[in-house]
Symmetry: C2
Subunit: 159 residues, 2 copies
C-alpha cells in the first residue's frame, strides 16, 4: 500500500464497458468515433438479444445519418473485445447480446411465441466444466438453448 498508488476504480482488472472498448480500440490503434460510442451505448441498453437490424433502427433514431454497415462493423469490434456475444437461433439472423463482465446466461425459448427467457443454472454450469475436463478440454465458453412451449402458449394450443 504505497502512497504512490493512484486511486483506481477497481483493484481488479475489471473495467466498465466503455473503458474496455476504449482500451481495446487504442490497443489496436483504432479510432474512437462518436458513432462507435453511440452504438455501444445503445447496445448496452439492450436487455436481451438484438439483431444488427434492430440495433441499427434504434441507433438511427438518435443519429439518422448513421449507416447499417457501421453497425455491423462496430458489432464485430465489440465481439473482438468481448463486449458482445453472437447468438444464432437457426433462423438465419445473427443476434447479439451484451457480454458484461463474467456474466453469462443460456436461453429458454418458446417455439410458439418466440418468448425468450434468460437462464443460468449453477448445476449445469459446473457439470459442463466437469465434462470438458473429462475430455481434457480447456473450456472457453458454451451455448445452451432449451426449446419448448411456454405456459401461455400451452393454454392457447395444448399439444
Amino acid at each position: 500500500m504505497t502512497k504512490g498508488m493512484r486511486a483506481q476504480k477497481d483493484p481488479t482488472n475489471r473495467r466498465t464497458p466503455h473503458e474496455a472498448f476504449t482500451f481495446y480500440l487504442q490497443e489496436h490503434r483504432l479510432k474512437i468515433t462518436p458513432q462507435r460510442r453511440l452504438i455501444l451505448d445503445i447496445f448496452l441498453l439492450e436487455p436481451g438479444h438484438v439483431s444488427s437490424e434492430e440495433l441499427y433502427a434504434k441507433v438511427k433514431r438518435r443519429d439518422p445519418s448513421i449507416g447499417q454497415a457501421t453497425v455491423y462493423r462496430t458489432l464485430k469490434l465489440l465481439m473482438g473485445c468481448g463486449l458482445a456475444d453472437a447468438v444464432s437461433f437457426a433462423d438465419g439472423i445473427t443476434r447479439f447480446e451484451p457480454h458484461l463482465g463474467s456474466e453469462h446466461h443460456d436461453h429458454l425459448i418458446c417455439e410458439a411465441c418466440g418468448r425468450n427467457i434468460e437462464i443460468l443454472d449453477p448445476v449445469i454450469e459446473r457439470r459442463q466444466e466437469e465434462l470438458a475436463a473429462k475430455y481434457g478440454f480447456r473450456l472457453e465458453r458454451h451455448k445452451m438453448d432449451l426449446y419448448g412451449v411456454c405456459p401461455d402458449c400451452q393454454k392457447d394450443k395444448p399439444s
Copy 2:
C-alpha cells in the same frame, strides 16, 4: 423363435432411417424420388455435421445432374421427419447432422482445430428438464455446445 417369424430387424417400433423417410413421405403424400433417396444415403454417411453445400458437393459426385435446391429441399424434409437436426455455429452457415433413432447428443468443439466430440450427459439432460419445468415450459428439444481447446491443441499452443 418360431420358423414362421419373418426376419425382422427390430421388434420395436424402431425403423431404419430409410423406412422412416419412406413412411414420412407417404404419410404426407410426397414422392419417393431417386434424388431424395440418394441425398439421404449420403447424408447418413456423414459422421458429424455437413453444410448444405458440402452435402451438395458429395451428392453431385454421384449424380452430377442434381441441383443445390433439391439438397436444401430434401434437408428440410429430413428435418421434418426428425432424421436431421440443424446446428448453427454462429458462422452464418447452417449445418445438419443425422439424428438417428432417439439418439441425441451435444457438442464439445475445439476452437483451434475444429474437432468435434459428441457428448451426452444424463446429469445435464435431467437438469434441463427440471429447469424448463421450473418456468412452466414443456421442453421439446435443446442444443448445447461447449467450446474450448482440445488436449492436442493445448500442446501446440498453450494459452
